[in-house]
């Protein structure tokens, strides 16, 4: 056991005596240490945490710094810049002079730092609130997706037979479905109606709709590899040995199968979050994700479409936020995968 554990860790130049004094580190500790040593992954995690902290200051920023309420329009508002009072929405001076243009970036933290959108709302304040929603939807849908996928994949793989046949066929159909179209179809139908399933009531326009839709459409992506892993674990030597020793099957499931599946699931967490965040922004961009007056980074890009040439910052800033966040999640995800590497994990087995 100890030999195989050291084989997955990096070559460690520590003195031999030190290793012998304390008990060999468990696989989780080994993986964690490896992850901490990964500079790129740690830097990505740091940036991600900073983004989360920044967004969680949204209510504080809106009420105490910018003194604005970013969920209602402010067409006749005024703002003081360099001692001069200016309207938030200006009469357009370009072209025929028809229509209006919202105020551009003031680069002043006390109001309209990134300018206003066409409703006269502070873009930075909306971006912070929108970031909270984007992050929340990405995380919650990831948890839902992994939960469903784990239950389905483990059930299908462990019990086999009829259950496996039925579940696998269902997963096959959803898998073959163009994911994006499935998400769009579900969103169109559900987004404007409230749903009651037993005691659970989801109101129209609730954030839970995109969360569930995004979570569910990606289930086959995770459930299928999990099922495959459980199948191969079931035939692995340590499980066969446990079966031979007469260990009851619920104990095998709990002690041998689940710990291995758990590492695979953890590897998927940051990568799925990145994917879900992009999917959420796309749905919101098509106005079938987060519903107004709530914001997400995707809806702000949508708001910025009509202002793209006059006030590009409205669309640019949230897109940049998505790109940076997704990038940190991808880099961190790569680090987690390298640290936990399920493939070499299978060799060390459960307990």
């Amino acid at each position: 056991m100890a030999a195989s554990e050291t084989s997955i860790g990096p070559v460690n130049p520590e003195p031999v005596g030190a290793v012998q004094r304390r008990p060999a580190a468990g696989p989780w500790v080994t993986a964690f240490r490896k992850l901490v040593r990964d500079k790129a992954a740690m830097a990505a995690l740091l940036v991600f945490v900073l983004i989360v902290i920044g967004c969680s200051f949204a209510p504080y920023y809106a009420s105490n710094v910018a003194h604005t309420f970013p969920f209602s329009s402010n067409l006749n508002g005024k703002v003081v810049i360099n001692g001069e009072e200016q309207p938030v929405i200006e009469e357009s001076t370009e072209g025929l002079g028809l229509g209006t243009t919202p105020i551009g970036p003031t680069w002043d933290i006390h109001g309209y730092f990134l300018g206003a959108d066409d409703q006269g709302r502070d873009v930075l304040a909306r971006m912070l609130y929108g970031g909270l929603n984007s992050l929340w939807i990405a995380s919650a849908s990831t948890i839902i997706c992994l939960l469903f996928a784990a239950v389905l994949g483990v059930t299908a793989g462990f019990f086999g037979g009829m259950i496996d046949a039925v579940l696998s066929r269902i997963l096959d159909v959803i898998w073959a479905f163009p994911i994006f179209l499935l998400a769009i179809s579900l969103s169109i139908v559900l987004i404007n109606s409230s749903i009651e399933i037993g005691p659970i009531v989801i109101r129209a326009g609730s954030l839970w709709l995109p969360i569930f839709i995004i979570g569910i459409v990606y289930v086959p992506y995770i459930a299928r590899p999990i099922r495959g892993q459980v199948l191969s674990l079931k035939n692995s030597e340590f499980v066969l040995a446990a079966v031979g020793l007469g260990v009851p099957s619920h104990r095998i499931l709990w002690k041998d199968i689940l710990p291995n599946v758990a590492t695979t699931l953890i590897v998927f967490v940051p990568l799925m979050m990145a994917l879900n965040m992009v999917t959420e922004s796309a749905l919101s961009f098509l106005s079938i994700g987060v519903q107004p007056p709530d914001a997400s980074w995707g809806t702000i890009i949508q708001d910025g479409q009509n202002l793209l040439y006059s006030r590009p910052m409205v669309a640019l800033a949230p897109g940049l936020a998505i790109a940076v966040t997704v990038m940190t999640l991808n880099v961190f995800g790569d680090g987690v995968r390298d640290a936990l590497d399920p493939r070499s994990k299978l060799r060390i087995g459960g307990d």
Binding site: I170, D172, V173, P178, I188, A282, Q305, L308, Y309, I322
Partner: protein, 323 residues
């Protein structure tokens, strides 16, 4: 071989049937989504509602509705729009298809070339500055939302730098048919192609690099090396060839997914009247038959494409046949 073919064919039909049922149920049997209420408008009286229900056949049992819908969609091709009554849906789709195909095929050519170049360059210079730089650029490409990248490109080429020598050649947004004026077609499509390809160049470059580096550890590469072949020859003739198998599989799936709706966002941003834009427009007016038709045809295309990829695989690689 014939057995595999028949088995996969049956599987494909089953999956298509499953998809059509799911789509139908989503649109016509989801609680709270009464299509007749939508057609009749907001404050419709119960009599009007009942009339609409009867008129469109929503009062019949679900399986009859499903059968009728599929017959109109796949056999007689006379499914009509709810919004503009009389407007047939299938011809609309057929009309929009060339636009989507030009977008996706052009983008695909760009990303395959780009992906191979990036992957090869990075793998050949593994660990160097070039490798790191390429992988970071690739990562940035993967992380940008495609509709946002499209907007940024529009901002640059249509507005901010449109009057400079760099982008003054970029025509206004919209599609120009290939057969009418190939040169104009080419010019309008370059920016959308680039926008679509950037994401996939990053993705494919990374995948190809990883698979080339993995191949480098294989026995047959060691054999090639011990025969005294040059590194260039090993990379191109031996490592690249096997790595391309992953590449081709991935390509089949992505190409299918893009034609089947994945290019929707790019079409919307660049104002190209393709299948995706059609779906998007009917999405705004909640014109269910159009959405239903495009979703079902797109899914069928994806399933069909996957089938072709699988079969091509079985023909190319004898090991797959036995499974």
């Amino acid at each position: 071989m014939l057995n595999t073919l028949i088995r996969r064919l049956i599987q494909m039909v089953f999956v298509m049937f499953g998809i059509s049922v799911i789509v139908f149920l989503i649109f016509f049997a989801t609680p709270g989504s009464d299509p007749s209420a939508r057609i009749a408008g907001r404050n419709a009286s119960p009599e009007v509602l009942a009339a609409v229900r009867k008129d469109f056949g929503f009062d019949r049992p679900l399986y009859v509705q499903y059968g009728l819908m599929m017959k109109k969609l796949l056999i007689t091709f006379d499914l009509t729009s709810f919004q503009n009554r009389g407007q047939k849906v299938v011809p609309q789709l057929v009309q929009a298809t060339p636009v989507t195909l030009s977008l996706v095929i052009g983008g695909a050519i760009l990303w395959v070339i780009g992906g191979i170049v990036v992957g090869l360059a990075a793998a050949a210079t593994k660990g160097s500055v070039i490798d790191r730089g390429l992988m970071i650029i690739g990562l940035i490409g993967i992380s940008m939302p495609v509709f946002w990248l499209g907007s940024v490109l529009n901002l640059i080429t249509q507005s901010r730098f449109h009057d400079t020598w760099m982008f003054s050649w970029v025509p206004a947004l919209g599609y120009k048919p290939l057969l009418e004026n190939p040169w104009e077609w080419f010019k309008t499509m370059i920016i959308p192609w680039t926008s679509l390809a950037i994401l996939y160049i990053g993705l494919y470059g990374r995948v190809l690099r990883a698979s080339l580096i993995e191949a480098n550890e294989e026995d047959y590469i060691r054999t090639a090396r011990s025969k005294g072949l040059t590194e260039t020859r090993i990379l191109f003739r031996h490592a690249l060839r096997t790595s391309l198998i992953t590449f081709v599989t991935l390509f089949g799936l992505d190409f299918g997914a893009l034609v089947g709706g994945g290019a929707l966002l790019t079409e919307v941003v660049f104002g190209l009247q393709g299948v995706g834009k059609l779906t998007y427009d009917s999405l705004k007016s909640l014109d269910l038959p159009v959405i239903l038709a495009s979703v079902i045809y797109a899914s069928f295309f994806v399933v069909g494409a996957n089938f072709v990829v699988d079969m091509a695989y079985a023909i190319l690689d004898p090991r797959v046949r036995g499974r």
